[in-house]
């Protein structure tokens, strides 16, 4: 068995301490494969003087921006089973594709993680998806992962916020509300899936209308995709948990958030204290914004995510557009022994004022020139 496969079958998904050597070996294995099969990655590795065995942080971190400008594949097209693009907040999209081996590792991970977080359930439930109804021609990762999440427990129904009607997506909040009202009277739990901002929008709207429901036991609010596109109305998480309790009768502990990206398809899941602990499949290096050198835990910097999960694309070490902090495990208190990642927000200085031509657009997230 390869080191990567061994890592993705590790029993305790948060045993980062016990998997250090295995992780490093799997990364080394992946780097060698990428260098041999993806000429561009081979060049990048050579340019920085090759890999350093035993130290994944020394592998060249590639900004997600690079994947948006260049499509890199390490396997022939016929081996690529699933193609996905990032949701592309600022226009450009990364093109990613995954082979069977990578997907299988992903599946092992999803199974371990969801079981650990009690998200796998034999009890059927109603899904409310605050996102796009799957439709041919919509390749964004969210519509796929959103759909994927509806298999954690058997689905009785799937209701979408954005429905495909007459060749276009339309917002159907009314349909969601009707479904919620009906479910509150039924025996089966519900699960909502969607961007936190959409979830908040739906809940606050219902609260304004004076709706107070008690969802069946086992109901959960699951959220993913971060807060992007909604910077202006950034909601305090506490406010969202309060709404869940008051509008749907769903307790704070049943509000679960996920984090991941097409460029780093690892399922980060919040602990009971709503922190994203690093699972064995992944490692995080926070880098200084000037030197790009790793900084100690507790210091904000650019977020570099590493995983040996994927063979089809060289995304073993990517640098996201986020500023974040890696906290020591013991600062959480939930009992998980791995450090946790706090995302502070996307880079881009909205508060700065400028009159240089194109600068405002650049700071907002465009390429600017």
């Amino acid at each position: 068995m390869t080191n990567s496969n061994k890592l993705f079958r590790w029993r305790d998904p948060y045993d980062t301490g016990g998997t250090q050597a295995l992780f490093a070996a799997a990364m080394e294995e992946n780097a060698r494969f990428q260098a041999e099969n993806c000429p561009d990655y081979g060049r990048i590795l050579r340019e920085q003087g090759g890999s350093a065995p035993g130290d994944p942080a020394a592998l060249p971190p590639i900004p997600t921006l690079y994947f948006k400008r260049h499509a890199l594949f390490s396997l022939p097209e016929r081996r690529l089973l699933i193609k996905a693009t990032s949701s592309g907040t600022s226009g450009a999209m990364s093109r990613m594709a995954f082979d069977a081996g990578s997907l299988l590792r992903g599946l092992c991970m999803v199974w371990r993680m969801t079981r650990y977080h009690h998200l796998l359930s034999p009890v059927p439930c109603h899904y409310l998806i605050l996102g796009y109804e799957p439709h041919r021609g919509n390749d964004t990762a969210f519509s796929k992962t959103g759909y994927g999440f509806t298999f954690f427990a058997p689905a009785l129904s799937r209701t979408y916020a954005l429905v495909w009607r007459d060749g276009d997506y339309q917002l159907d909040l009314e349909g969601l509300r009707r479904r919620l009202l009906r479910c509150a009277r039924g025996p089966f739990p519900i699960r909502t899936i969607g961007f936190p901002a959409y979830t908040w929008l739906l809940l606050s709207q219902m609260e304004k209308e004076g709706i107070r429901l008690q969802m069946p036991r086992g109901s959960k609010i699951t959220m993913g995709g971060g807060w992007k596109q909604f910077e202006g109305q950034k909601v305090e998480k506490a406010e969202l948990y309060r709404l869940a309790e008051s509008v749907l009768g769903i307790a704070e502990a049943d509000c679960v958030e996920f984090f991941g990206a097409v460029e780093h398809p690892i399922l980060y899941t919040t602990c009971p204290y709503h922190h994203f602990h690093v699972p064995v499949y992944s490692r995080v290096v926070i880098r200084d914004v000037d030197t790009l050198e790793p900084v100690p835990n507790g210091t904000p910097g650019l977020v570099n995510l590493m995983t040996p999960m994927v063979r089809s694309v060289p995304i073993l070490s990517v640098m996201t557009d986020d500023i974040g902090i890696l906290h020591d495990a013991d600062t959480c208190g939930c009992g998980i022994h791995s450090p946790w990642l706090e995302i502070l927000g996307r880079v881009g200085a909205r508060g700065l004022v400028t009159c240089a031509a194109g600068a405002a657009e650049f700071l907002k997230g465009g390429e600017g020139r």
Binding site: Y66, V347, V353, C355, A356, A357, G358, R369
Partner: protein
């Protein structure tokens, strides 16, 4: 908050006030015209009182909160003094047209007189606090009624200043209307635009494009768009010049219209460009240590782009010198482009024979060129840069200077805000 004929109103009264705006403007137009002296006296007295500390209780917390240095406040106040405004009037409007009639053989000579455009709608930008108020003062100097749409990032300074002007000279009240309307409220903006004879817009391409849509074909549009600036150096550029340029970059963090985005070197020789890049990199690093670090988000954004450029360097031919919170990108092309800001600039070749052609594509965006050269070539290069479309050619460290009486992006606002009427 809304300021309407000297009175402060709550934003909820917007639609009522918009309903009577046109008739109130017509009434003001029919009344006694405004003279520049009224405006100058009010501005001068306000500027003196601010400098004298009368508004310190409001101003100090504000200056601290946005870390605005005293020098910037002093420079801003300098624009509002009697001396500055009088000089501005004289320079921009020139000789009074009434002083010379137009001969008309066989008829009585034609009298000429300057009139305001009428009603001006100012769509202001938030890049400098108080600038929206200055735009209105310019409108007032030309005698106009002024409707001001505040920028979304306004911190209240403009409203305060304009309210105070009305308190000092009550005749100004009928000429000042300030609205806090978001850019997304198209219905209200259209209502304001309909009343206006001219729309003055400050901002980037997005704001200018939006204003073009807002303005009816018979409404004059005056745009103060965003600009790009750069330095032009010859082999004679001294370390002193380069230090002054580095200081200017660190002070403005390359965020201003007039901020240097990069250096063009008068050469075709990439070796010389590389050498200048290395030389400037050392100077920029040293200078940057004397300044507080740029915003972390700005630095992070630059770092991601620089890292991406490094990975692409094998194909682009660019070389990135990075460290100490700054960077210099040595690039083989001659395109004027935005830098990664915050102390990250480029150095490119641009021989003087190719200057006109290289800058043609940036028409309308060109503003300041800092010129680093030997004294004997200064005249020739200044003329060349002017012909290429630049409107300010300065010393290396002077690119972002603000002087009362300076033209704005090559234009005199007071002329744009008024018209000449010929009378038989």
């Amino acid at each position: 908050m809304i300021l309407y004929r000297g009175e402060l109103h709550d934003d909820s009264e917007l639609s009522g006030l918009l309903g009577r705006l046109e008739s109130d403007c017509l009434a003001a137009l029919a009344g006694e015209p405004l003279t520049p002296e009224l405006v100058i006296a009010a501005c001068d007295s306000l500027a003196r009182d601010i400098a004298g500390g009368q508004f310190d209780h409001l101003l100090r917390p504000f200056l601290e909160a946005f870390s605005i240095p005293q020098s910037q406040l002093d420079a801003a106040l300098g624009l509002f003094t009697r001396e500055s405004l009088t000089r501005k009037l004289r320079l921009e409007l020139g000789e009074d047209p009434e002083s010379e009639d137009l001969p008309h053989p066989g008829f009585a000579p034609i009298r000429r007189r300057r009139y305001p455009l009428g009603v001006l709608l100012h769509i202001a930008a938030g890049n400098v606090d108080g600038l929206p108020a200055y735009s209105v003062v310019e409108g007032l100097l030309a005698g106009n009624i002024n409707l001001l749409k505040l920028p979304s990032m306004d911190h209240g300074a403009s409203l305060l200043l304009l309210h105070e002007l009305g308190e000092r000279q009550p005749r100004l009240k009928d000429f000042i209307y300030v609205f806090d309307v978001p850019s997304t409220d198209l219905a209200s903006l259209s209502a304001l635009a309909e009343v206006a004879d001219g729309i003055v817009v400050w901002g980037g391409d997005e704001a200018v494009t939006a204003a073009r849509r807002l303005a009816a074909p018979n409404t004059k549009l005056i745009t103060w768009g965003h600009k790009l600036s750069f330095a032009y150096a010859t082999s004679a550029a001294t370390d002193g010049d380069l230090s002054a340029l580095a200081r200017h970059m660190c002070l403005t963090r390359q965020l201003l219209c007039s901020s240097c985005q990069g250096i063009f070197l008068d050469t075709e020789d990439m070796g010389a460009v590389e050498a200048l890049g290395e030389r400037f990199f050392t100077i920029l690093q040293a200078e940057n240590r004397r300044h507080p670090p740029a915003d972390i988000n700005l630095r992070a954004r630059a770092a991601l782009h620089l890292r991406t450029e490094e990975l692409e360097a094998h194909a682009s031919g660019r070389r990135i010198l990075r460290g100490g919170g700054v960077s210099v990108t040595v690039a083989p092309d001659s395109r004027l482009e935005l830098s990664w800001l915050g102390g990250n600039c480029w150095v490119k070749p641009l021989p003087r024979e190719k200057l006109l052609a290289a800058l043609k594509g940036q028409k309308g965006y060109l503003q300041t060129a800092g010129l680093l050269c030997a004294p004997e070539e200064r005249e020739e290069l200044t003329a060349l840069l002017a012909r290429a479309g630049l409107v300010r050619i300065t010393e290396a460290g002077e690119m972002s200077r603000t002087l009362p009486g300076e033209a704005h992006d090559g234009d005199y606002p007071l002329r744009a805000y008024s018209r000449i009427v010929e009378m038989a």
